[in-house]
Amino acid sequence: MITVRSVSKSFGKIEAVRDVSFKINRGEIFGILGPNGAGKSTIVNILNTLIKPDTGDVIIDGINIRDDCDTIKLIMGVVPQEIALYEELSAFENMMFWGGLYNIPKHELRVKVNNTLGIVDLAKRKDDRIKTFSGGMKRRINIACSLLHNPRILVLDEPTVGVDPQNRNHIFEVIERLHNEGMTIIYTTHYMEEAERFCDEIAIIDVGHIIALGTLKELRKISDTKDLLTIKLESFNPEIISCIRSAIPSVRADSITRTLEIDCDNISNDISIMTNHIQTAGGVIERIYTRGTNLESIYLKLTGKELRD
């Protein structure tokens, strides 16, 4: 469906995107993950034909974006990061305007607008001006406006920024519905849990370059991250600790927090081994914590920095 081959783009001396390559299959949700300024929006704008790459090729549905921008624009729907709506117009007027740009016949567009308002669960507020909507409702209309021309590919550029949990769930439901209907979705975010929830494949991007690409399972493998087991003891006795260490040399101990930590390949197995050794050495367990491998830990491992910074 989409093939990006060795794409680079610079703005003056700033290299925004460097040698980026990936493939997206039809009906897939492809996540682009990275901190602010990583180059996510530049990639999105290249896919949308708004920015021409300096080098490389982008083929969408068999069309090179350099050859036929107009067709690409009809294939794609873009939900921008900003709430790009006219506050003084009603939801219906906004949708009629944005849909109208795709030359959809008026009667047909009217039906589509009403249907799409139903999808984003805002049919009852269709005649209210956007300025009276909450941030989450505006985000839902923002998405709805990009669906009116029936795009085959939908680009969602950080669609849940500043949205409350209830509205976020509404948005998730819409995305899942579109995915089930077979739409190809490109999803940029810096929320790990969203990427984990939706994306079939994820590209982690940092300073304009893809540092890891694959499914969550593949990324876990690439980054070599493991689950973490943490056991808090009632008291921290050096003799007990040395006894446990003699049995499990990789254990990490912290006398201040009275904790023992170990990276696990198989966490359920490792819990029983650790608890047995502690009890044998005379230690008393206060609490057990586990943390499975997630995208955040993979990102941290790969880039050495917190994503949300």
Binding site: L50, I51, L89, F97, W98, L101
Partner: protein
């Protein structure tokens, strides 16, 4: 392009403040300026006669005759006062000037000596002083000019030819001074502004104010491009099959339409309320409105394209509009401005537009005489449009 135009039109009419600023505020200003420029009173150029304080210390037949004659003039109303009080009232700004006729006025007329008359005045009220000066000199000369000249000739003859006999003297006077034939006569005939009933002040108020307010309106339209950039809608427009240039042309079309609407509304208001005769040269008026609207809307878009942010656009626009309006005659009529400002006025778009409307309503020129100004305004519009397109491509749609 038409979809964008339609959207902007809906947005405009949704925004009550914009509608008020575009239509109601200019109407209020035109009314105020029309009153200020005196078009509503019975006088051409002024609403009431100039008040003149008069102090008659001579109390002679001649002084009373002169005061009576001045008071009978339609442009002047005399108010009798004593000399100290008269000066005080001028200093305090209550009156523009005071005429003081000193004791010995009658005697000086009879002896041919210089007449003891003084005018004390406030320099800041030049227009009133000018009117008084013109009226007083002509009144004084018409009443007592003959006596003054006759007495002076008699005095001259006596001093230079003391032995001349009386009959020769009378003969010289008789031959050199023939009453009513000595004064050169100038016939004053107004040839401009006589073909219609529209007052100059009203034309100035409508044209000047409309163009000033129009500039502010289109600057607002122009800055809405930057607003669209700031809130991301311009990017969304670019994601659609719409071309970048269509966005600009859509905005220009809207600015042009609003300009035509605003100008037309102002002239219709002047017609309805002040009885301004719009039919005097209808084709020229329509063309002038279109040319002015095009030039002004292009300027509005250019100002927006020059700025990086909406706030910057509004600041730049305010400065440029105020300067252009000040030198171009929108704020103050050009004919009362200093010569240097009148010379640089042609740099202002306001000047060409206002002069075009003067040509139609005041000078009542035929269309072919007005066409050069219309062509110039359209040319200015074209140049600014081309510059806007280039700047827009470089600065606004740059991602």
């Amino acid at each position: 392009m038409f979809k964008l135009f339609k959207k902007d039109l809906i947005l405009f009419f949704h925004d009550q403040r914009s509608v008020i600023l575009t239509f109601l505020l200019p109407v209020v200003l035109i009314t105020l300026f029309a009153f200020a420029y005196g078009s509503l009173g019975g006088y051409d150029g002024r609403s009431e006669p100039v008040k003149l304080l008069v102090t008659d210390l001579d109390q002679s037949r001649s002084s009373k005759e002169i005061i009576y004659k001045i008071d009978s003039l339609k442009d002047i109303k005399t108010i009798i006062s004593d000399s100290t009080n008269a000066k005080d009232l001028v200093i305090k700004g209550k009156y523009a000037c005071a005429l003081i006729i000193f004791k010995g006025f009658q005697d000086s007329l009879e002896t041919g000596n210089s007449t003891p008359v003084e005018m004390v005045y406030d320099r800041s009220r030049e227009m009133e002083i000018g009117i008084l000066q013109q009226n007083l000199i002509s009144t004084l000369m018409s009443l007592k000019g003959d006596i003054i000249v006759k007495k002076r000739i008699e005095k001259y003859l006596k001093s230079k030819f003391p032995f001349i006999d009386k009959s020769t003297g009378d003969d010289i006077l008789k031959n050199t001074f023939i009453k009513d034939k000595n004064r050169p006569e100038i016939r004053w005939t107004p040839i401009v502004g006589m073909k219609n009933n529209t007052k100059l002040g009203l034309i100035q108020a409508v044209a000047g104010t409309s163009i000033l307010m129009l500039l502010f309106s289109v600057a607002g339209v122009g800055s809405s491009i930057l607003e669209e950039k700031e809130n991301g809608t311009i990017h969304r427009l670019l994601y659609s099959p719409l071309k970048g240039s269509a966005i600009l042309y859509g905005k220009m079309l809207f600015a042009f339409f609003i300009s035509i609407l605003q100008l037309t509304a102002m002239f219709l208001f002047a017609w309805l309320i002040f009885n301004m005769d719009l039919s005097i040269n209808f084709p020229a008026l329509i063309l002038m409105i279109i040319a002015t609207a095009f030039a002004v809307s292009s300027l509005g878009i250019l100002l927006a394209a020059l700025a990086k942010t909406r706030q910057q656009a509004l600041n730049i626009s305010t400065i440029i509009i105020l300067i252009m309006s000040a030198i171009g005659g929108s704020m103050i009529p050009l004919f009362i401005m200093p010569a240097i400002l009148q010379k640089i006025a042609f740099l202002s778009l306001n000047y060409w537009a206002i002069q075009g409307f003067y040509d139609i309503f005041w000078r009542v020129l035929p269309l072919e005489e007005i066409l050069p100004k219309i062509a110039l305004l359209i040319s200015i519009g074209i140049v600014m449009t081309l510059a806007s397109v280039q700047l827009f491509k470089k600065r606004i749609i740059k991602l």
